[in-house]
Symmetry: C2
Subunit: 228 residues, 2 copies
DNA sequence: CGAAAAGTTGATGGCTTTCAAGTCGTGTGG
DNA sequence: CCACACGACTTGAAAGCCATCAACTTTTCG
């Protein structure tokens, strides 16, 4: 496992006191192919969720946390990183989470690798891995910071989003047992069952038969997801 | 986002009833460089946590769940995958989680890519991504299935493991505020504080000063981690 | 049809959160 | 050097959400 020394390094900067978590991000930009080293003090923002992802970073020494924040302010750290570890890798054009130093840290920044430089199979695998990481980040927020109802709703909406890519009629198959849903969402079968019954009673979803359902009130569901 | 159709496909197999979760895994092995397609019924085990990771898989159609199980039986699904998505990618020699079909599924299996076939920089990145995924899987179990005390203990043990790679004296810096720990572990600062105080009172950890501590009873801690 | 598995619903309890007050530690300024 | 102030941390009390336990209903499949 990669070493994560949470030990502070000495940064010759004058002001030693870290900015609060609301610190502005620093632009340690590196041009084209030239790697560049940037020093950060503790609790400095490297980039924020939604920022353009032009760079990827490698920790020389220090430590970095990656986190996501829900609209109502709930925060979930999704990764803790130490020397040698990389972050800022993404398959999208923007970062899916924010990055902030925990201690004084030096980062090496590089431009993102161009997929044309590597075999297609390898590129596809990297893309898949990055997609995986992004999905796991989202799921981490669900498990760490969402209520039972929010988890179930988030799950249903994700299912709908995925299914609709294929079939537009809106009918979605719930090809999982309650136990599997519970084990995915970090809940018990009873809580999942109660949440689904509640959503059905409130008219937000409709069970067509067995394990098929469709969404009757998408806006209503989205309000319950914790994501808006 | 990759499409995850949870729709069942028709498998001409005679017995339609899926085996229970305790199903034996199937060896859909592919030789050397030849990709091979294998059909699975619903709730069939593709591989188990700890199995040798000789293959990687791509879902042609169907759906697969990846999960981890704690020694006492608590289960946490760590990924839900649909058509086009890959799994079984790992930087280690064995799988860090089990894979089971949710519905009838066809999988294309390939041998794992050899790092010598691609540029070193790309290989390093893939390795990092796979390490990330593995860490996120572990964290998913912590958030989904562990109690507050188990989360805090797991966190301390991980910190110790990482720090000890560098310094063997056993003294570990806790370079995070209680709020950051709480946001990492999906708890509140009060719960984190209470858990740490409890561990200190019970003599399992000792706070040397400010944010430095060391483990006084590793076995005792491990028993509280939920991992044994 | 009957048994077993899956799902639902209710009652209760426990763990964690919330709210609140107090303590500790560090940096500042008199 | 010490008093003060502010933030970080700790501790207590009470509430709330979800888990647990239990009974029942529904579905599935031989």
């Amino acid at each position: 496992m990669v070493d994560l020394s949470l030990e502070s390094i000495e940064i010759p900067a004058g002001k030693k006191v870290g900015q609060p978590a609301s610190a502005k991000r620093r632009e340690g930009a590196s041009d084209a192919a030239s790697p560049m080293v940037t020093a950060f003090r503790e609790h400095e923002l490297v980039f924020a969720e939604g920022d353009a992802a032009s760079q990827r970073y490698e920790i020389i020494d220090g430590a970095v946390m990656l986190f996501k924040v829900l609209p109502d302010g709930r925060r979930q750290l999704v990764e803790l990183l130490g020397p040698g570890e990389m972050f800022g890798l993404t398959c999208d054009d923007e970062h899916d989470c924010s990055a902030e130093t925990l201690v004084a840290t030096r980062l090496r920044s590089n431009r993102r690798l161009d997929c044309s430089e590597v075999p297609a199979a390898v590129c596809a695998m990297c893309q898949q891995l990055q997609e995986k990481v992004k999905n796991l980040h989202e799921h981490t927020v669900i498990l760490g910071r969402k209520s039972a109802m929010e988890r179930v709703v988030s799950f249903l909406l994700r299912l709908a989003e995925m299914s609709n890519a294929k079939r537009a009629n809106g009918h979605i198959r719930l090809a999982m047992t309650r136990q599997e849903m519970a084990d995915y969402l970090g809940l018990t079968i009873e809580t999942v069952s109660r949440s689904l019954s509640d959503l059905r009673r409130r008219g937000l979803i409709v069970f067509d038969k067995a394990d098929w359902f469709h969404i009757a009130d998408r806006e209503g569901l989205e309000l319950l997801s914790g994501d808006c």
